[in-house]
Symmetry: none
Subunit: 416 residues, 2 copies
């Protein structure tokens, strides 16, 4: 069951706001076994709305529109729908009374623009919007369904969750569709693809595999469709099997599932093992601590960090030996080892992560070009190190280093 989403608003086309609505809708519709086959973003004109709607209704039976239902002049969605379906805009008393009551509650009077909000295409099912003034509209004609919702995210989400998706599910019980996401880190997309090439080549037609890479991580998403009438439960069992096959092929790269992140998984392991962590950061400059502290409840295991940007801080706070800095430089294995040990002692943690590198764009040398980074994880008893040669822009070098460092810390705790 394919659906098109049409997002209406000049503010999206000029990039003043990012369209997060359609991603949320795509996710929710997928979870309900509907599939979004196209998202279109268009401007606030009658002609654009009508022609785009027409093109979509030639391809699919259900089109969901968001945006263009507010009280201001550039909101033309309703008029476009009335034109397209050859209907009049008629006064909808219930909506007008609702708007008047809403305003009375705040001691205000609706404007004339709000009066116009009460006109709806004749024959449309009006769906009350408990989160705002503009209701949703559900139109059916010649077996096609068009639903229009306001673009305000929490209004759209309320309407989708409470009204639209339940109505669609009752009309189209449909094919089952099940997803499974496997999170990997430490290897690039192409290497993972090679390692599981045979697995991928022998997947049945109703199961798809997608690679979603970002910053040292690759998410593998398996999607199974009940094309032969398989139920969701049957598809889940098939994906259990497929997931197990991937796990057997690349166990060393898998760190989690679904919405797991390296920082959330690291936090879970630390909590489970009752251990604490600190960071000693040079090139990552606080990004690693920021990533760890993006997880709610991290104060249970994260004590703090020493951001040692200057060599003096490395020596005085972390106890890195001046001779080490002189002989090997700040970007070196001996330095990050001493940083790990120093911060563990200073903040009294069970383990620590240290980074030192050349984030760029300046500061590179032929021996240590921009993107050269040393990472160490461990404690007084045991330290593991890694050298990276990333060579990207400053922010990417920093983010990629954090990602690799978190994965090293995770493996250290798991004894790998």
């Amino acid at each position: 069951m394919n659906i098109h989403i049409i997002t209406i608003g000049d503010e999206i086309l000029i990039g003043q706001i990012v369209d997060t609505n359609s991603a949320w809708m795509g996710q929710e519709l997928n979870l309900s076994n509907f599939s979004v086959s196209k998202i279109k973003t268009i401007g606030d004109t009658l002609e654009e709305i009508e022609t785009t709607l027409d093109a979509s209704l030639k391809k699919v039976d259900v089109v969901l529109l968001t945006g263009g239902l507010g009280a201001t002049k550039d909101d033309v969605t309703k008029k476009a729908l009335a034109n397209y379906f050859g209907r009049e805009l008629v006064y909808h008393e219930e909506t007008h009374e609702r708007i008047k009551r809403l305003f009375a509650k705040f001691g205000r009077k609706p404007t004339e623009a709000h009066y116009h909000q009460s006109f709806m295409p004749a024959g449309a099912t009006i769906i009350t919007n408990r989160m705002g003034t503009a209701p949703g509209m559900w139109l059916e004609q010649n077996g096609k369904i068009v639903v229009s919702m306001p673009g305000v995210p929490y209004e759209m989400k309320w309407l989708m969750g409470h009204e639209i998706i339940p109505r669609l599910r009752s009309i189209f019980p449909g094919q089952a569709l099940v997803h499974r996401t496997i999170q990997t880190a430490g290897q690039g997309e192409s290497h993972i693809a090679k390692a599981i090439a045979h697995f991928e080549d022998t997947l049945p037609d109703n199961i798809k595999l997608a690679y979603l890479p970002s910053m040292g991580k690759v998410r593998l998403r398996l999607s199974a469709k009940g094309t032969k009438g398989e139920s969701a439960a049957v598809l889940e069992r098939i994906l259990d099997q497929k997931q197990a096959e991937i796990e057997a092929l690349i166990p060393q790269f898998i760190f989690g599932y679904g919405l797991d992140s390296l920082e959330s998984v690291l936090g879970d392991i630390l909590k489970k093992q009752g251990k604490t962590i600190a960071t000693a950061e040079s090139c990552t400059g606080g990004h690693l601590a920021h990533t760890i502290t993006s997880i709610p409840g991290c104060s249970a295991y994260f004590m703090g960090s020493i951001i040692a940007y200057s060599n003096e801080v490395k020596v005085r706070q972390l106890g890195v030996e001046a001779t080490t800095l002189k002989e090997h430089g700040a970007v070196s294995e001996p330095t990050v080892i001493q940083m790990v040990k120093g911060v563990c002692q200073l903040l009294g943690t069970d383990m620590a992560i240290a980074t030192s590198g050349i984030a760029g764009p300046g500061g590179g040398t032929p021996e240590k070009p921009v993107g050269t980074v040393w990472i160490a994880v461990g404690n007084q008893d045991k330290v593991e190190t890694m050298k990276l040669e990333i060579g990207k822009d400053r922010l990417t070098n920093i983010q990629y280093t954090s990602s690799r460092a978190l994965n090293m810390a995770r493996k250290f705790l798991l004894g790998g």
Copy 2:
């Protein structure tokens, strides 16, 4: 000059990632006098790409595609382009050599998938991608231009900024268009709009003012079009005048121009004054240090930070008095004052910024709800403080705190 953007990727349709690329592209293209009239997001299939491209080329002369150019099997954009334009995929040696060199640098060998990345539609102009392996492709046929770029945001941004937009500008010079961005901090959009309402109402038709708010900052963008044939130089002089008028109305909120950020402006002031800075962070957890160190060359003034997430680190490293924590709590004015003084002394800097707050979602109380934050800036001689009550989600509370703290540090250095 209208352009369509086509974003390719199942991961967007199912809402696993939000498409931020097209918003960025819309913004940049607008700044260069191009207008995005439609954004389409579609799946990774040959048929979908070809039919969507065909529909767009019937409406506009330029189509920009992102996504579907990686090294794995679900990347079909190239093949779709070759089919659509009736061309063969031919081996592009330069691309293959570049990929081999990139891998050799890291002591690795490209996989067979990378070899396939070197095949391009015949006749396409290959645009080197300095940020990754997959190059951009520029195809022209029958007066139509189709450009394909990888979907990785920093790769796409590099290609757009360095190659695609300059080429489009040289082909379609169009009307003169000049922009001016004024950066403000410390007041919301509606307050600024009120303060400059008369200025805005009296702007001529060919000058537009846009408000671009984000995290305690509002960018004001003036755009002047040469609708009566004015040259860019004439428009620049008109905007000089308009900028001066805004400066006279809200001098206290302006911190910079163009691409200035609070962290770049703060860095410039520190360098100019020959001063050094450190941070002592609790609720921002390293985000403030990360923001300061996102500026190349910050090692000239940024010495380091103590991320004091636990109270023990606040006491032992920063010298916050245990009685202060007991009597006032960690989220209090006396605590952040002691944190500022402690870190200045410890790292020997001329000034410091300290933060302590409840980032949420847990940890709030009736007296100190989630989003309650104390900030202090200063040194041993003088400290300024501010209390915030933000009350948003965890990440927003953190980012907003960093933004306000940077602005306070800037004003402290300027003696305001």
